[in-house]
């Protein structure tokens, strides 16, 4: 399980674009010409990160919105953040 600093902030990478469509989200990674789709929860997490909320704040928002426990929310959020960092879709800010 990932152990990210809860105060860490993230933003959409300058070489990527993010857009929400019918609750799901799309990242266009310009350098690679690749596109990633994230589900409703993923789109919510990215929107929260874009709104300059820390990872810990995002996790709290997930528990409130989706009625899941904090551990589950942390696992989901950390996993997605890891994947998006690796793909170059988001970056630490």
């Amino acid at each position: 399980m990932s152990t990210k600093a809860s105060t860490q902030h993230y933003r959409v990478d300058p070489h990527a674009r993010f857009r929400v469509m019918d609750d799901e989200g799309i990242f266009v990674l310009q350098d690679a010409g690749e596109v990633l789709v994230v589900n409703e929860l993923g789109a919510f997490i990215v929107e929260q990160l874009k709104a300059k909320h820390s990872l810990d704040e995002v996790i709290t928002s997930i528990t409130e919105r989706y009625a899941v426990d904090a551990e589950r929310a942390r696992l989901d959020a950390s996993s997605l953040v890891d994947e998006l960092l690796q793909a170059g879709a988001i970056t630490r800010s």
Binding site: R17, D22, Q30, A32, G33, V35
Partner: protein
């Protein structure tokens, strides 16, 4: 030095500065699309032949598949491949090509540049150019977007067995008007081959992505997946920071007008009866 004009999808591309060997090569390849009117082309491409291969990407010993390098800047787009470099000005859209090639390798370089220029021209005209396979039954046009390995060439081979008309197994364009969506063949063939030929536009009847699976089926997908498949299939433009937002918006509008479906198919021709039925049903529903 001589010039020629290639016309397709409503645009004329004038290539000037070709030496006699280059001219013959291009003429023999694009014979069916050569225009007779050289005045006021939509895009001008100047070719400068420099026989010294130093400074160009070297040609390999044998046939090779490689990715053309494309670098986007604010005012221009730089392109480089085996034996050539080029610069494409965004406004007005025009290009300058430098090449050390005048043999059969020149055709590949020419196509590589033409592909990029045509994508930009058609995008500026409101169209989307997609990595895709496309075929027609004479009345309806079907487009299957997907990148390398998606099954485009396989599908074209199967469609050919069914005597459906193949447009291209590599690049096709979707043009939009208030009335309808049209499918335009690009004069670039992939592995399926064939010389470029003049095709009329066909009404776009089916917009699909590809998946491997049996038995064949046509399935829905979310709007986000549909848009992502289209954006991922639009070469050059999807990597251009100045155009990618417009591309995404245009893809979203396209799937609102014509939902993208996923065709799952195996290496047999059973897919056609499923596809034919799916889009006959849709046509009937629209006619009521």
């Amino acid at each position: 030095m001589s010039a020629l004009t290639i016309a397709f999808a409503g645009s004329r591309y004038r290539f000037a500065g070709l030496n006699p060997e280059q001219l013959d090569l291009v003429r023999s390849k694009f014979d069916a699309l050569l225009g007779t009117d050289d005045t006021q082309p939509d895009v001008e491409i100047d070719v400068h032949y420099s026989p010294n291969p130093e400074g160009f990407m070297r040609r390999p010993a044998g046939p090779v598949e490689y990715r053309v390098a494309v670098v986007h800047a604010e005012d221009s787009v730089a392109v480089a491949g085996i034996g050539f470099t080029a610069n494409i000005d965004r406004r007005p859209l025009r290009a300058q090509m430098q090449t050390c090639l005048a043999d059969e390798w020149f055709v590949g370089a020419f196509e590589n540049l033409f592909r990029v220029v045509a994508c930009y021209r058609l995008f500026s005209e409101g169209a989307l150019v997609l990595h895709s396979a496309a075929f027609t039954d004479g009345a309806r046009g079907f487009l299957f977007c997907g990148r390398s390995g998606a099954g485009k060439t396989t599908l074209c081979g199967l469609a050919d067995e069914l005597e459906l008309g193949i447009l291209s197994d590599e690049l096709n364009a979707v043009t939009t008007s208030a009335e309808r969506l049209e499918l335009q063949a690009m004069p670039i063939a992939g592995d399926f081959g064939g010389a470029p030929s003049a095709h009329p536009p066909y009404p776009l009847t089916g917009l699909l992505g590809l998946a491997h699976g049996a038995p064949p089926s046509v399935d829905r997908c979310s709007k986000a997946e549909a848009v992502s498949r289209i954006v991922a299939s639009c070469p050059y433009i999807n990597a251009d920071a100045l155009l990618v937002d417009e591309l995404t918006s245009r893809a979203a509008k396209l799937v609102e007008r014509m939902p993208l479906r996923i065709l799952s198919f195996a290496k047999d021709t059973r897919f056609w009866s499923v596809l034919n039925h799916e889009y006959q049903s849709q046509h009937a529903a629209l006619s009521r």
